[in-house]
Symmetry: C2
Subunit: 230 residues, 2 copies
DNA sequence: CGATGACTTGAACGCCATCAATCGCTGTGG
DNA sequence: CCACAGCGATTGATGGCGTTCAAGTCATCG
């Protein structure tokens, strides 16, 4: 559902170190903390590092000149991002909450990949997984209704960040809206509608802790293509 | 703007053969013709070949169960597609007009890439170029108005298939609409509006031969991110 | 405890989709 | 050769989905 390693499709890599697991070279890496709201890198900045989320959550986005924002992806613990290949980032990345990241120098990966086909294949696999996710979002943004988008979002998050059956959303309604191409009020209304229908239960007053009571119901609403979602 | 080789960023590869240009293995390939409207491959079918357009035009799409369609890309002479990596295609591909394609077996490319880092890098570069294009479309589909989308489409096509200053669109209004996430009537209305404003001239009654009279005007409308379009 | 931010809910507007009619071109068969 | 069917495109009329504007609640924090 957005797992970035597909040599091992059911498990996220636990460490960037696994990236180079099969190579002989060791890949230097360091861990850094970013507090809530801080920028990790900006659009069009040189892409010197790639990142893995240790703890917390990251959003990437593009802006239009008048302030309209499109969020490209949410990155959760285990996810690798910033592999924008090409020498410049194509999104701005920010910490949604206090976040710990592991950084790896990109030029080192590239140097390894230059001689090690296995590493090269891993980079390709990760890029391909990204591409696949983004292609599905094209269909979502181009052709799905607001209700379908929100249902798809809940299903995605149910698969990605559930623990003990509870989705604990790190992002606010505006982030979700900008991810789905909607107004935040619309996201709120659809959440309420799903709640009224009995598909969801909210655990906290701010309604970010969510239990999906009827995943099948949501899946039915989130019209999808014949091919599988991930 | 969607050129698939970026070791040589300003030129499309003229032949798939160039794909293996730096490898020692020769890559077998064959040329095939597809008449207007025929399917080249279907979504979720095994991806046994990759393709290069010799002549004509190809569209790829996904469908929702109720018939809503999203076109993923248009492929024009020189473009390589079907590099869906992953063993199955994620879109259906069809010939828009009578089309000639060159085919290359994917497993051969993969075998070469397994030992040849240069080939591996080329595959990665092509995939990355795809990713970049798709990421820009996410912003377009998520946050741009109908007018902005149509302007962006015209600019894209002006860059990709102009000859002698004339855009000769191979696709109909419905294809354009399904590419931009709009109704075809909306596309038609925006074309008319740009014509009325003096941005466009139409050369034929079906209005598929178009001259862009004011590219700057269109660019101004097609709100874009701070980073460059391609 | 007042201020700020996140979220929900209501009301009204507007962009774009939908429905519908018309026109011109293309191709086919009598 | 022409009539006619069918497709592609434009244009008009209408309506609806989602945005925008606005108010109000609740939680958090200085």
């Amino acid at each position: 559902m957005f797992t970035l390693l597909s040599t091992d499709p059911h498990k996220k890599p636990r460490l960037v170190g696994e990236l180079s697991g099969l190579s002989h070279a060791s890949v230097s890496s360091g861990e850094f903390k970013y507090s809530k709201g801080t920028e990790i890198f900006g659009e069009a900045e040189p892409a010197d590092y790639i990142y893995q989320v240790i703890e917390g959550a990251v959003r990437t986005h593009k802006l239009l000149s008048d302030g309209r924002r499109q969020i490209g992806a949410f990155h959760l613990p285990g996810d690798i991002f910033g592999l924008d290949n090409g020498d410049f980032h194509r999104f701005t990345a920010e910490a949604i909450v206090d976040t710990a990241l592991r950084l790896v120098e990109r030029r080192i990966l590239e140097r390894v990949a230059k001689t090690d086909p296995t590493m090269a294949r891993r980079l390709l696999t990760m890029t391909t997984a990204n591409l696949q996710h983004v292609e599905n979002r094209i269909l979502l943004l181009g052709r799905n209704t607001a209700r379908e988008r929100v249902a798809a979002f809940l299903i995605e998050m149910n698969g990605r960040l559930t623990s003990a059956g509870v989705i604990a959303l790190p992002m606010n309604r505006r982030d979700i809206a900008d991810y789905l191409g909607l107004a935040f009020e619309t996201v709120s209304r659809e959440f309420s509608a799903f709640h009224r229908k009995g598909y969801l239960r909210f655990l906290d007053p701010m309604q970010r802790q969510i239990i999906v009571l009827d995943a099948a119901g949501l899946t039915g609403i989130a019209q999808q293509t014949s091919a599988k979602l991930d």
